[in-house]
C-alpha cells in the first residue's frame, strides 16, 4: 500500500513539475501575442519604423519564451497516457476529444502563423503578415481554451454517462462538456489572469530600460500598452475570479473549505481577508484553526451562494455529514461508492457467465432513462470514486497549501491593479522616468506575477485532491502501475532538463534585453 501511495505521489509530482514549468511560459505567450499584434497594427497603420523595431523586439522575446512552452507542453499531453493510463481509459472517451481538437484547431494554427510572423517580414505582404500575427494570438488562446475545457471537465464531469459494458465514462453531450459553467469560467479566468502576467512582463522589461535611460520611445509606449492591457485584464479577473469561486462553492465544496481554512460550516460566513493558520489544527483535533484572522463579514456566504444568509459547509461538515443541511457523511458516501463498484462487478460477472437475465436487470441501473437507473446513478454511482478510498481523512486536501496559495493569489491580484493604475497615471503625465521607486517595483513585479499565477493552479489542483475526476476517480485508482523508481528516474530527468532549459532561456532572454531592439544580430 505504501508503495502505491509513493507511486501516486511521485506521479503527481512529475505532472506538477511539468505543468508548473509549462505554466511559466504559457501566460506570457497568451498575453504577449495580443500585445505584439496590437503593436504591429500600430505599425501597419502609421508606418512609423519605431513601432516596427518595437514589435520585432517583443517578437524576439516571445519566441525565446514560446519554444520552452512547446517543449514542456508536449510532455503534458503524453503524461496522461504514460502516468495516468487508467484515467486515460476511464474517461478517454471525453477527455481525448478536447486534446485532439486542440491539436487540429490550434497547434497547427499557432505553429504555421508563428513561422509567418517571424520569417514573413520581407517574404509576405504587410497585410498577410499582420493577419498572421493576429492568428498567432487567436491560435494560442484557442489552444488554452481546449485544454482548459479538458481540465474543467475533471473538476466537474458534465455531459457524460457511465457505460458498464466498456467500464468507462462516455460522452453524451459535447456542448455540456465544452460549455459547462466551470469550463467557461476556467477559460476566462486562466486567460485573463495570464494577460496580467504578460502585462507585468512587458512592464518589467520596460522599467529596466527606463531605469537605464535607454530606448525611451519603446519603453514608454510598451508600458502604456501593457498598463492598459493589464488594467482591463485585472478588471475582468475580478469577475472571472468571482465566477470561479462561485463554481468551486457549488461543485467542489471541500476545495472551498480548504481555501478558507473553514472547519466548521456556518451561515452568514465571512471571507478571511488575511489570516495565519494554526499548523497544529487538523480534522482529528479541537485546536483553533487560526492564530489570527481578519474577516470581511458575510462575503463568503455571498460569494458561495449569492446569498449573505446562506450556509457554507466546512471540512467537518463534509467529512462527518450534516443532517440539517443535507450533507452526507464521507463514510456514507464511501459505502455508497462501494455499492456502485460492487454492482459493476456483478454486471461483469453476469456478462462473463452469459447470465442474460441478470445482465438486463443490472443494466437498467446504469441506464439514466429507467427508474432504477435514475435512483442508482443519483444515489450510488455518483459516489463511485469514494468506493476506492480507505479512510475519510483522505478526502481532506492540504489545507495550508490551498489556503495560503489562494490568499496570496488574491492579494497580489489586487496589488497589481493598483500598480497598473499608478503606472498609467505617470505614463500619462510623462513623468514615469523620474519615479525610480515605481520603476524598481515594475521591474520586480513580474516575479510576483509568476507567483500569483502558479498559486492559482495550486488552489485548483491541490485543492481538489484526492480527485483526478471529481467524485468519480481518485488519483490512486488512476495511476499507471510502474515501479516507484521508474517514475523517480523520469522525474529527476525532467527536473534536470527543464531546469537547464529555463536557465538557458533566461540567459538568452536577459542578453537579448540588454542588447535591446537596435541590435538584433546574435
Amino acid at each position: 500500500m505504501d508503495e502505491l501511495v509513493s507511486l501516486v505521489n511521485w506521479s503527481r509530482g512529475q505532472f506538477a513539475l511539468t505543468a508548473m514549468y509549462h505554466w511559466i511560459f504559457v501566460p506570457i505567450t497568451l498575453g504577449l501575442t495580443i500585445m505584439i499584434a496590437i503593436m504591429l497594427t500600430r505599425y501597419y497603420k502609421t508606418g512609423n519604423e519605431e513601432w516596427k523595431t518595437m514589435t520585432k523586439f517583443w517578437m524576439k522575446l516571445f519566441i525565446i519564451n514560446f519554444v520552452v512552452g512547446v517543449a514542456t507542453g508536449i510532455i503534458l499531453e503524453f503524461e496522461f497516457g504514460t502516468n495516468w493510463s487508467n484515467y486515460s481509459w476511464f474517461v478517454g472517451d471525453i477527455f481525448g476529444a478536447p486534446l485532439a481538437i486542440e491539436g487540429i484547431l490550434a497547434f497547427f494554427m499557432e505553429a504555421t502563423f508563428i513561422a509567418v510572423m517571424i520569417f514573413g517580414w520581407d517574404r509576405v505582404s504587410k497585410k498577410f503578415h499582420l493577419v498572421s500575427t493576429w492568428l498567432v494570438a487567436i491560435g494560442s488562446n484557442l489552444s488554452a481554451l481546449w485544454i482548459l475545457i479538458a481540465n474543467a471537465w475533471m473538476q466537474y464531469p458534465a455531459g457524460t454517462v457511465f457505460n458498464p459494458a466498456t467500464a468507462r465514462n462516455e460522452m453524451i453531450n459535447f456542448w455540456d462538456v465544452a460549455l459547462s459553467p466551470v469550463a467557461v469560467n476556467k477559460f476566462l479566468h486562466a486567460t485573463t489572469s495570464s494577460y496580467i502576467v504578460a502585462a507585468l512582463f512587458v512592464i518589467s522589461v520596460s522599467s529596466w530600460y527606463l531605469l537605464k535611460k535607454r530606448n525611451l520611445f519603446m519603453a514608454k509606449k510598451s508600458m502604456l500598452i501593457a498598463a492598459i492591457f493589464g488594467l482591463i485584464s485585472s478588471i475582468m479577473v475580478i469577475f472571472t475570479g468571482d465566477g470561479s469561486a462561485y463554481q468551486v462553492a457549488q461543485k467542489q465544496p471541500m476545495k472551498l473549505a480548504a481555501m478558507e481554512g473553514l472547519y466548521q460550516g456556518k451561515s452568514q460566513a465571512g471571507l478571511v481577508a488575511i489570516g495565519i493558520l494554526n499548523p497544529k489544527k487538523d480534522i482529528t483535533n479541537d485546536e483553533k484553526p487560526y492564530y489570527f484572522k481578519i474577516e470581511i463579514p458575510y462575503l463568503l456566504s455571498f460569494l458561495s451562494n449569492r446569498d449573505i444568509n446562506s450556509f457554507v459547509p466546512g471540512i467537518e461538515d463534509l467529512i462527518y455529514g450534516n443532517e440539517e443541511h443535507n450533507i452526507l457523511s464521507a463514510e456514507e458516501k464511501m459505502a455508497r461508492g462501494q455499492v456502485a463498484i460492487k454492482t459493476l462487478q456483478e454486471y461483469q460477472k453476469a456478462k462473463k457467465s452469459n447470465d442474460t437475465a441478470n445482465l438486463t436487470e443490472i443494466s437498467k441501473k446504469f441506464d439514466p432513462n429507467t427508474k432504477e437507473g435514475e435512483h442508482f446513478l443519483n444515489n450510488y454511482f455518483k459516489y463511485f470514486g469514494y468506493g476506492y478510498l480507505n479512510d475519510p481523512i483522505e478526502l481532506v486536501p492540504n489545507v495550508a497549501l490551498t489556503f495560503y496559495s489562494f490568499h496570496i493569489m488574491v492579494s497580489l491580484g489586487f496589488l497589481f491593479i493598483l500598480l497598473f493604475i499608478i503606472i498609467l497615471l505617470y505614463v500619462w503625465r510623462d513623468t514615469i522616468e523620474k519615479k525610480k521607486f515605481l520603476l524598481y517595483l515594475g521591474l520586480w513585479s513580474i516575479l510576483f506575477g509568476f507567483i500569483a499565477s502558479q498559486m492559482g493552479w495550486i488552489v485548483a489542483e491541490v485543492g481538489r485532491q484526492p480527485w483526478i475526476i471529481q467524485d468519480l476517480m481518485p488519483t490512486v485508482a488512476a495511476v499507471t502501475h510502474l515501479s516507484v523508481s521508474t517514475v523517480q528516474t523520469t522525474f529527476v530527468l525532467f527536473a534536470i532538463i527543464f531546469t537547464t532549459l529555463l536557465i538557458a532561456e533566461l540567459r538568452i532572454m536577459f542578453n537579448q534585453i540588454r542588447k535591446g531592439p537596435d541590435n538584433f544580430k546574435k
Partner: protein, 379 residues
C-alpha cells in the same frame, strides 16, 4: 451526416484519419532526417547554416503532427493510448525526451549566452534525428509485433515485463522498421535540401549521400516488408471477436483489399522514383525528387497503417493474452464521440490548405548563403 454512418464505419473512418496522420508524420520526418545529416553534409559553414535554416523554418511540422497524432489516438482509440503509453513507458519517454530537446535547439543554437553552447544544441538536433526516428519506427513496429500487456475487467492495463517498452528494441522486426524510418527520413531530407537550397557544394555532397542512404534503406525496408508479409499476423474473428494468429495475415490483407495493395506498391515505386530523379538527365525533374519520395512515403505508410486496422486485423497485439489485443472496434471511443470528432475532422483539409498556402508564400525563394548571413531571423 456522420450520424448516418454505422459504428463500424465510424471506427474505420477514424482509423483512416490516424493512418493519414501517421503517414504525414513519417513524410514530415524529413526534418529529423536533416538533423541527422548535420555531421555529414553540414561539417562546415555555410552548409550547416543552410541545412538548419532550410529545415528549421518549418521544424514544427513533424513536431506538431506527432502531438496531433497522440491527441487523435487519445480521442478516437483511448484504449491504445492508455495501453501503449502507460505500458511501453520508456519507449515513449525516450521519444519525448528527444523532442523536448528539438523544440528549443533551433531557436537557442545561435543565440549568445545560450548556456550550453551552439555545439550542444547541434548535438541535441542530431540526437532527435537519430533516436527520435529510430524509436518512433520501433514504436510503430510494435503495432505489428505487439506488447506485453493484459487488461483487467475495468480495461485497466498491466504490463507484464519490467522493461516497460525497452523490450521493443530487442525485436528484430521493430528494429528493421526503426532503421528503415531513420534512413528514409535522411533520404527525404536530402531530396528536400536539393530542392530548397541553392548551393553547389551541398548538392554534390547530397547526391553522394543519397546513394548510400538509399542502399541501406532498401536493405532494411525490404527485410521488414518480407518479415511482415511472410510471417504470422494477428487476426480477429468478426463474429466472435476472438483474436487468433493467421499465417500471412498482412500479405492476405493486401491481396484481399487490392486497392490497399495497389496503394502500397504505388507508394514504393514513387519513393524509388524520387530517389532516382537526381540521377536522371532531366533538368526539370532533377530537384523534384522530394515530391515523388514524399508522396511515395505517405502512400506506403498509409497502406501499412490501414493494413493493421482493416480487414479484421489487430492493430496492437498482446503477446501475453491474445484476447487483450486491440482492434479498431474494441479500442475505440463511443459512437457519439466518434461522430463529434468526425465533424472536427472536416477541418483537417482546411488546415492542410493553409499550411500549404503559407509554406508557398514563405518559401518562394530558395535558401542561399548570402541571404542567411544578412537575415536577422536566421537560425
Amino acid at each position: 451526416m456522420f450520424e448516418q454512418l454505422s459504428y463500424n464505419a465510424l471506427q474505420g473512418y477514424w482509423w483512416l484519419i490516424i493512418s493519414v496522420l501517421g503517414a504525414a508524420l513519417v513524410f514530415m520526418m524529413f526534418v529529423q532526417g536533416g538533423q541527422s545529416l548535420i555531421y555529414s553534409l553540414g561539417k562546415k559553414e555555410p552548409q550547416l547554416s543552410l541545412i538548419l535554416n532550410a529545415i528549421g523554418t518549418r521544424w514544427d511540422l513533424s513536431f506538431t503532427t506527432l502531438v496531433v497524432f497522440g491527441g487523435a489516438m487519445f480521442a478516437a482509440f483511448p484504449l491504445f493510448y492508455s495501453t501503449s503509453f502507460g505500458g511501453a513507458y520508456w519507449l515513449w519517454m525516450l521519444i519525448l525526451f528527444t523532442f523536448i530537446l528539438q523544440a528549443v535547439s533551433y531557436e537557442f543554437r545561435n543565440k549568445a549566452r545560450n548556456f550550453l553552447g551552439a555545439k550542444t544544441y547541434e548535438w541535441f538536433l542530431f540526437l532527435n534525428g537519430l533516436i527520435g526516428t529510430i524509436s518512433l519506427g520501433v514504436a510503430v513496429g510494435t503495432f505489428f509485433t505487439g506488447g506485453n500487456f493484459v487488461h483487467n475487467d475495468m480495461n485497466f492495463v498491466s504490463w507484464t515485463t519490467n522493461w516497460h517498452g525497452l523490450e521493443a528494441f530487442a525485436n528484430i522486426k521493430n528494429l528493421l522498421l526503426g532503421f528503415s524510418i531513420f534512413f528514409l527520413a535522411r533520404i527525404l531530407a536530402i531530396l528536400f535540401l536539393m530542392n530548397r537550397v541553392d548551393d553547389e557544394l551541398l548538392y554534390v555532397k547530397s547526391k553522394k549521400q543519397l546513394l548510400i542512404n538509399a542502399a541501406v534503406f532498401l536493405v532494411f525496408f525490404l527485410s521488414f516488408v518480407f518479415a511482415i508479409l511472410l510471417g504470422n499476423g494477428f487476426a480477429v474473428d468478426p463474429t466472435t471477436q476472438l483474436v487468433y494468429l493467421e499465417k500471412y495475415k498482412y500479405f492476405n490483407n493486401f491481396i484481399e483489399l487490392p486497392w490497399m495493395g495497389t496503394l502500397f506498391l504505388i507508394g514504393v515505386v514513387l519513393v524509388l522514383l524520387g530517389i532516382a530523379t537526381p540521377y536522371l538527365k532531366n533538368k526539370k525533374l532533377e530537384t523534384k525528387g522530394i515530391w515523388f519520395a514524399g508522396f511515395g512515403t505517405f502512400f506506403t505508410v498509409l497502406a501499412l497503417f490501414l493494413c493493421l486496422g482493416y480487414n479484421n486485423t489487430v492493430f496492437y497485439p498482446s503477446l501475453v493474452d491474445l484476447q487483450s489485443s486491440l482492434t479498431i472496434h474494441n479500442a475505440s471511443s463511443s459512437r457519439y464521440t466518434l461522430i463529434v470528432m468526425s465533424y472536427v475532422s472536416l477541418l483537417v483539409p482546411f488546415v492542410v490548405a493553409y499550411i500549404i498556402y503559407t509554406w508557398r508564400k514563405l518559401l518562394k525563394k530558395k535558401f542561399t548563403a548570402d541571404e542567411i548571413s544578412e537575415s536577422d531571423t536566421a537560425y
